[in-house]
């Protein structure tokens, strides 16, 4: 297939550059006419989504190594290549990105009335850069996409955000920038050692324990901020609360995943021994995120803040799975369990992408009507918005991890795998099933059920067709992954096994 299609040679570049062209087109042709800007952007996003279908179909899931590879010299003086390639993990995340962007643009159709062309252009740019992150096979190229992403998100939160948007967006930018500067210096150090930024080469290059140790920390700071992990998570609740709905969705659904993806692409392959030595640290931080942040979510009075904390808690499973796999594979020799843990953490990334996006979209739907995110302003919404209530209950169940939804699959796999490493870790992580249920169901109870709280709620109208498309799209994806996860797991299986091989490789 990859030979049959002439396009496939440039498929990844097209995926990156098409949204950028779309963004330029909206800026140039859309500034006078909002409706035109929306349509151009939607068209570009749909085309990009359409392009990700041949990517999925053309990708040979049982073949090891990178596919759809493009490699050109970018900066000769520094030996930097425009080197793109995907494996199963990247394909899944790219599909998540293109899918979510389409729904985000539809979701913001009437919610944003000011500077629409800039709004949609920011989202298209963001999409391009995120796809770039998932394709980059050159560390510096990865870094460029990783950092450049900050600017559109900075603008999105800053212009269309809530009352404290300026504080939130500057905090978001500086936290991430601060984290990644250490990664940059780590990468420069690696380049001076190895003379290359090529990720495949770096994954094979032997490094002493001391070197790995410092590099591990430089990567950890960058990705821990992005995931975000306890204790550098404080930017996320602020950013989520202040961001417009679309911004929250992209932030939760995709940008957080880049942190988890970074661990898989940098920490595990480049510094496997240090990762192994320090796995306890990451596991401990993940458990704190899972349990403690879960309790923090319990006391939130702002819906978006609650979901933001819930995101941090759920992302704890991603990092837990990724680093438990090291203990499993190296200390205990449970290769299959390690694979299970990694797969679980990958499935959790995809699943959390859909669920958190859907939850934020739900909040967006009522926020557009009530202009409040406070739980106390709601109550009995189910009486006036039955369809909306149905969707929200469904996503809440998925967030809790009800079997049959995607939320169950990932968490279950991670807990199952970590049980083989340490029953204590598994038991601690499993607390989330109770805490998660508590905060999510309590949220649903307070917002949806009971008597109609006030006349504002009484005047609510149910979701329109546009909102139904958005929520329906996410619901479909959540169900699909929950009921039939096999295609997703098969897509990533070979790549996950490769990661297991990489983390088994002793480099010292």
């Amino acid at each position: 297939m990859s030979q049959a299609l002439p396009l496939s040679q440039y498929l990844l570049s097209s995926l990156i550059w098409l949204p950028i062209l779309g963004a330029i087109a909206t800026l140039v042709f859309g500034h006078a006419d909002r409706q035109r800007a929306r349509w151009i952007a939607l068209l570009a996003a749909l085309l990009t989504f359409a392009l990700s279908i041949p990517l999925y179909l053309g990708y040979a899931a049982d073949v090891e190594g990178m596919q759809f590879v493009e490699k050109h010299v970018w900066i000769g003086a520094l030996n930097v290549y425009y080197h793109l390639g995907v494996d199963g993990i990247s394909v899944a995340l790219i599909a998540l990105t293109t899918f979510t962007t389409v729904l985000v643009l539809i979701g913001a159709w009437n919610a944003i009335e000011e500077k629409v062309h800039q709004y949609v252009a920011c989202f298209l740019l963001l999409e391009a850069l995120m796809i770039g992150v998932f394709c980059a096979r050159d560390a510096l190229l990865f870094y460029v996409f990783f950092e450049a992403m900050l600017i559109p998100m900075f603008i999105i939160i800053g212009i269309w955000g809530g009352p404290r948007r300026v504080y939130a967006t500057i905090k978001f930018f500086l936290f991430t920038f601060f984290g990644s500067i250490f990664m940059l210096i780590g990468l420069i150090y690696l380049y001076n050692e190895t003379g290359s930024f090529d990720l495949d080469y770096l994954a094979r290059y032997p490094l002493s324990m001391t070197q790995q140790f410092w590099l591990f920390f430089s990567f950890l700071i960058a990705f821990a901020v992005k995931v975000p992990m306890f204790p550098v998570h404080t930017w996320l609740p602020d950013a989520h609360v202040e961001a417009p709905t679309g911004g929250s969705v992209i932030l939760a659904a995709i940008m957080l995943k880049i942190g988890g993806y970074g661990f898989l692409r940098f920490s595990l392959p480049i510094t496997p021994d240090a990762s192994h030595e320090l796995a306890w640290l990451v596991i401990a931080l993940s458990l704190i995120a899972v349990v403690y942040i879960g309790f923090v979510a319990l006391v939130q009075e702002d819906m978006k803040k609650l979901i933001a904390y819930s995101s941090i808690s759920h992302m704890g499973f991603v990092t837990l799975g990724a680093f438990v796999s090291l203990e499993l594979a190296r200390d205990l020799g449970f290769g299959d369990a390690a694979r299970l843990a990694l797969q679980g953490s990958m499935v959790q990334m995809i699943s959390h992408g859909f669920i958190s996006a859907a939850m934020f979209s739900c909040v967006g739907v009522v926020y557009d009507r009530m202009h409040s995110r406070m739980i106390k302003d709601y109550g009995g919404v189910a009486n006036t918005m039955p369809w909306f209530a149905a969707f929200m209950v469904f996503f809440a169940m998925a967030n809790v991890g009800l079997p049959g939804t995607s939320g169950f699959v990932g968490e279950f796999m991670v807990i199952l795998a970590s049980f083989q490493a340490s029953p204590l870790v598994a038991a601690t992580a499993a607390i989330t099933l109770i805490v998660g249920a508590a905060y999510t169901l309590w949220l649903v109870k307070r917002v949806l059920f009971g008597a109609v709280a006030n006349h504002h709620v009484a005047e609510l109208t149910d979701i329109n067709r546009r909102e139904a498309i958005v929520l329906g799209g996410f619901a479909l994806a959540t169900l699909l992954v929950g009921l039939w996860p096999a295609p997703l797991i098969d897509l990533m299986d070979t790549s996950v096994q490769e990661v297991v091989k990489q983390l088994m490789r002793v480099k010292v």
Partner: protein, 485 residues
């Protein structure tokens, strides 16, 4: 003394052409009425671009490479690339200056001829092969600059800035000259190559040469505006008319690089261990003082002044490495900074109008509500200054950090990285004001009618992205220039 031959004169064709043209311009301008002043404007730009073309031509001819006038004048890659970008950025300064100068009644021939003489000085500086040439070039740059700062002579702030600049600048020149005299005393030579040879072969007066080195480094630091010799920078940046600030903030940074490169690398390379430590301290102080004080500024020109100081700190990291990659990184940094600085001051000119100087950061409030395109340009410039990837500022920072890490200065690179994050805050604040705030009712946006201005500004800002993505060739060019390949 050998008689002057064609081989000596040909490498100097661009300089000679510039000198001749300035003299003609100086005279011709006298016969122009104020309504015809635009002729001077366009002639000056044409002279700069023609000179740049001549530099390219001379540089392209391998038979002209090497030194002329018995080593007084060096024609090599570093000289060529520095000169070309000095000339281009100065041409941009002229384009940006016109809509500012006309309503303020500063649109005079002196502005052009003084800057052109300063450019001539910079060109000699870039080609200096002898301490005398370097010193003459430096003074030819400095003297017109002092006068330029006072161009708006009825403005007390300008006059004060000019006096400050003159006193401190003259002192710096004195320091440099004093240092040169000590090195002369220690080595018995003024010629860079001979000084270097003498320092390698024997160590005649260790104390004397170290003393001389200290004074030379101080002189260079003054010219760069590196902390703690940065006192003149904020006052001059704020006090001078914006186009003059634009000029002082752009091309002379490349000249300062050339001065440092010629003196430290060509002449004093054997004392690397001594001067790299001094520069490390200067770089560190510049990063700290520049970034921290810039945080507190509300005046945009003053903020950019402190931002310059911090950028000089980054630039010096390239020197500390002492390798060809390091010098190439510093050269790239100087060039990219000069281009970014012209763009940033161009935007200030854009926002200013008759009777109103858009100097305060708050004057940029809500620009995005009024004009999305120019708001985007502000975003590009600030993101580049902050060193965000996809912009040229990132490539520049990447290279100097790489040079620092490569020479084992990992802690310094880490500190620089942390201060880059701190610095990002004040650039972000400008973006915030432009994009997130509502416009003040008191400020209105008057588009300068000057079409060349608008085109040049847009191209200038977009070049920051273009160089950020396709900066590879320029980086290779810098490296080739330094290695002589």
């Amino acid at each position: 003394m050998n008689p002057i031959s064609m081989a000596d004169l040909l490498p100097l064709v661009p300089e000679s052409f510039l000198l001749g043209s300035v003299c003609v311009l100086l005279l011709a301008d006298l016969f122009l009425s104020q309504s015809q002043r635009a002729v001077t404007h366009w002639l000056a730009i044409a002279v700069l671009l023609l000179t740049a073309a001549l530099v390219c031509r001379v540089n392209g001819d391998d038979s002209l490479a090497g030194s002329a006038f018995g080593g007084m004048f060096v024609n090599d890659g570093v000289a060529a690339i520095s000169k070309i970008f000095m000339l281009i950025t100065t041409a941009l300064v002229f384009v940006y200056a016109k809509p500012y100068l006309i309503p303020r009644k500063l649109f005079q021939g002196e502005f052009y001829t003084l800057i052109l003489f300063a450019v001539l000085g910079m060109m000699f500086l870039a080609s200096a092969g002898n301490t005398l040439t370097a010193y003459l070039g430096l003074e030819l740059l400095a003297l017109p600059s002092y006068a330029l700062v006072a161009l708006d002579r009825d403005n007390p702030r300008s006059s004060e800035a000019a006096i400050k600049y003159f006193v401190l600048g003259a002192m710096a020149s004195g320091m440099l000259l004093y240092g040169i005299s000590m090195i002369y005393g220690a080595t018995g030579s003024l010629d860079f190559a001979s000084i270097r040879g003498a320092l390698v072969s024997n160590v005649p007066h260790p104390g004397l040469q170290t003393f001389g080195l200290v004074f030379i480094v101080i002189g260079i630091a003054f010219k760069f505006g590196a902390a703690p010799f940065h006192m003149w920078v904020p006052d001059v940046y704020q006090g001078a008319p914006t186009p003059v600030t634009m000029f002082i903030g752009s091309a002379p940074k490349i000249a300062a690089f050339a001065l440092a490169y010629r003196l430290l690398e060509d002449a004093l390379a054997p004392l690397f261990n001594d001067w790299s430590g001094m520069l490390a301290v200067l770089a560190l102080l510049s990063l700290v003082i520049g970034n921290l004080v810039a945080l507190a500024q509300t005046n945009l020109k003053r903020m950019l002044a402190y931002s310059t100081i911090s950028h000089v700190g980054f630039l010096l990291l390239g020197f500390i490495a002492g390798t060809a990659e390091g010098y190439a990184a510093a050269l790239f940094y100087a060039i990219s900074y000069a281009i970014t600085a012209t763009a940033s001051f161009g935007l200030i000119v854009f926002m200013s109008r008759a009777g109103f100087e858009a100097e305060e950061i708050d004057d940029f409030r809500g620009l995005n509500q009024r004009n999305g395109w120019y708001a985007l340009l502000v975003l590009l410039v600030m993101a580049s200054l902050a060193g965000v990837p996809l912009f040229v500022g990132f490539l520049a920072k990447l290279q100097v950090l790489k040079a620092a890490v490569g020479s084992g200065m990992l802690p310094l690179a880490l500190i620089a990285g942390v201060f880059a994050v701190i610095g990002a805050f004040y650039y972000l604040r400008v973006i915030k004001v432009v994009y997130f705030d509502q416009p003040l009712p008191s400020t209105q946006l008057v588009m300068p009618a000057d079409l060349p201005f608008r085109i040049a500004l847009s191209v200038n800002c977009l070049a920051l992205v273009a160089l950020g993505i396709f900066g590879g060739p320029l980086m290779s060019w810098c490296l080739r220039a330094v290695t002589g390949g």
